[in-house]
């Protein structure tokens, strides 16, 4: 059973008024795919292709105009508003800009994801320390997150995303602010996370990721359309920008 499933998802944003009518920009158009539990999925496409929109839909930060999105067999956009926080506890997310509390240290940044669960302080501390050790960081680091290197900050963000033991980890351009060496480290870490059983979905247009990653599934978006899904054509070991492949509807595509 797929852990994540999109079926005919269309999403558009309001873009002001044009000629007296409300203009809308289509971010995703009839997107369908399924990701298996424990898969390492790379979502690629040029800037503006709709990668971030797709991740926002999985986090229920946006609602689709049409189609269904299922996480662990639950249609997440039929959830009541009050249930969305509980969905997000099952879907961890990391971002290019890390989204850490700048004045808090690594342990405090990770602990915040456990405090929302209502755990007792001792358990919060123990689990936050374990999450930091899992991403190969020293839990006793007292420096505030603003004093950490980019790689360390992204590790803290990954530890925070994984602290609550989510089923899916979303990563939106996780190497966007990192140099090639740190990017490879983060990518290796995400693959390790996946090997431990967490489904990982990385949205990126970083050529280094495309070269270095060994995804079990690769999705390619172009102008809001899903033009390639390697789950349909078999396992692909590595991608390079410009690599040609057959799209889901039989057309020839290329990694952007």
């Amino acid at each position: 059973m797929p852990i994540l499933e999109f079926a005919g998802v269309t999403m558009s944003y309001g873009a002001g008024y044009s000629g007296g009518a409300r203009a809308r920009v289509t971010a995703l158009q009839d997107v369908s795919f399924a990701a298996a539990e424990g898969a390492f999925v790379v979502l690629t496409g040029a800037s503006g292709a709709g990668k971030s929109t797709l991740l926002k839909l999985v986090l229920a930060s946006e609602r689709p105009d049409a189609g269904t999105i299922r996480v662990a067999d639950r249609d997440i956009h039929r959830l009541r508003k009050s249930s969305i926080p509980y969905l997000r506890r099952n879907v961890g997310a990391v971002f290019q800009d890390f989204k850490l509390l700048p004045d808090a240290n690594a342990l405090e940044n990770v602990a915040i994801a456990l405090q929302v669960l209502g755990l007792r302080p001792g358990e919060v501390d123990a689990r936050a320390r374990k999450a930091l050790r899992d991403v190969e960081l020293d839990p006793s680091m007292r420096r505030s997150s603003r004093c950490l290197s980019g790689g360390e900050q992204q590790r803290v963000a990954i530890a925070r995303a994984l602290a609550g033991d989510p089923a899916i980890l979303l990563a939106d351009e996780p190497t966007g602010n990192l140099d090639p060496r740190l990017s490879r480290e983060i990518l290796d870490l995400l693959q390790t996370v996946c090997a431990r059983g967490t489904t990982v979905l990385i949205a990126t247009h970083d050529p280094l990721v495309l070269e270095h990653a060994t995804p079990s599934q690769m999705l390619t978006l172009s102008a809001g359309r899903l033009v390639a899904d390697t789950a349909a054509v078999g396992h692909v070991r590595a991608y390079e920008v410009g690599t040609e492949f057959t799209t889901t509807n039989g057309e020839l595509g290329a990694v952007a």
């Binding site: 926080p85 509980y86 997000r88 915040i112 929302v116 209502g118 755990l119």
Partner: protein, 298 residues
């Protein structure tokens, strides 16, 4: 148990948020205190005016002083006849001994002022209690009572009752107006400061929402801030009012000794002080909820 840990976190985070911006909090608490001081002052004036009006006896529209040596049976019969009138609520018989007790109390419980005065020299009286709606008929009733053979003198406080009621009504309106004004001012102050806090901590809010914080978990610390601001501001106002009252009361008591002789001025009761603090806290909660609600849930 999980809810308790969440409440603990939310409370701690709210207090930490206040400590992180002490100047803003201090200004908010001080401004709320000034506003609540206005409300407390109006409340205090209204309460004491009410109390003084009662001690003056303006709550008794007609008092009939009886001639000496009237038998108890005749006093009772007259009282029953007057009590049966439709505009009369009840009639209290005040004996000479009761009149003496009141006189002593009215003179500040100083028995030396009435030394040698026998209760028998004070006349028995009938106090005719009428509902406020019948105050206008007090003078007519007084005239009718004056014609009674057992009545020596009648004092009608009808006009005083009306004026007293009008004054009380005005003070009550001022108190309600002040409460509305203070309420609005406090809501605005709390709203502004919490909005600033929300803006300063928007990154934290975004992270909390991202990691699955429920709306009540995310806005809880801000509501705690609003609660503390409102309660502290109101408590400070009550404290200032108390010390101000303590300083002014002897001066007023000296200047208006006759007016206050019957009971003197008194401060708000502990339950009323608690109600003022509760009102401040409730305004704080409302203001913070308004400031943070839509932002957190958006």
């Amino acid at each position: 148990m999980r809810a308790l840990h969440s409440i603990r976190y939310v409370t701690q985070r709210g207090v930490r948020g206040m400590v992180q911006a002490p100047l803003v909090q201090l200004l908010a608490v001080a401004t709320i205190a000034v506003c609540m001081l206005l409300l407390g002052t109006v409340l205090l004036v209204w309460q004491n005016a009410r109390s003084i009006a009662d001690s003056w006896g303006v709550d008794v529209p007609v008092t009939a002083y009886l001639v000496d040596d009237v038998s108890t049976e005749r006093i009772t019969a007259l009282a029953e006849r007057v009590a049966a009138l439709p505009q009369v609520e009840r009639v209290d018989i005040v004996s000479a001994e009761q009149a003496m007790t009141r006189l002593v109390e009215g003179l500040g419980n100083d028995p030396s002022l009435v030394a040698g005065l026998e209760p028998a020299v004070l006349p028995v009286s009938l106090e005719v209690i009428m509902p406020p709606s019948e105050a206008a008929t007090a003078d007519a009733l007084a005239l009718a009572l004056a014609d009674e053979p057992d009545v020596d003198e009648v004092v009608a406080a009808g006009a005083w009752v009306s004026r007293s009621e009008a004054l009380m009504e005005t003070l009550r309106s001022i108190a309600i107006g002040a409460a509305a004004l203070v309420g609005f001012a406090c809501l605005t102050i709390v709203w502004s400061t919490i909005r600033l806090a929300v803006y300063a901590r928007r990154a934290e809010i975004e992270i909390l929402r991202l990691v699955g914080g429920t709306p009540s978990f995310v806005h809880g610390p801000f509501v705690v801030e609003g609660f503390v601001q409102g309660a502290l501001g109101a408590a400070l106002a009550v404290a200032l009012l108390y010390f101000g009252f303590d300083a002014v009361e002897p001066l007023l008591a000296d200047a208006f000794a006759l007016a206050f002789a019957a009971g003197g001025l008194h401060f708000l009761a502990p339950t009323e002080c608690a109600a003022v603090v509760g009102f401040g806290a409730a305004l704080g909660v409302l203001g913070s909820r308004a400031a943070v609600g839509r932002y957190v849930e958006s």
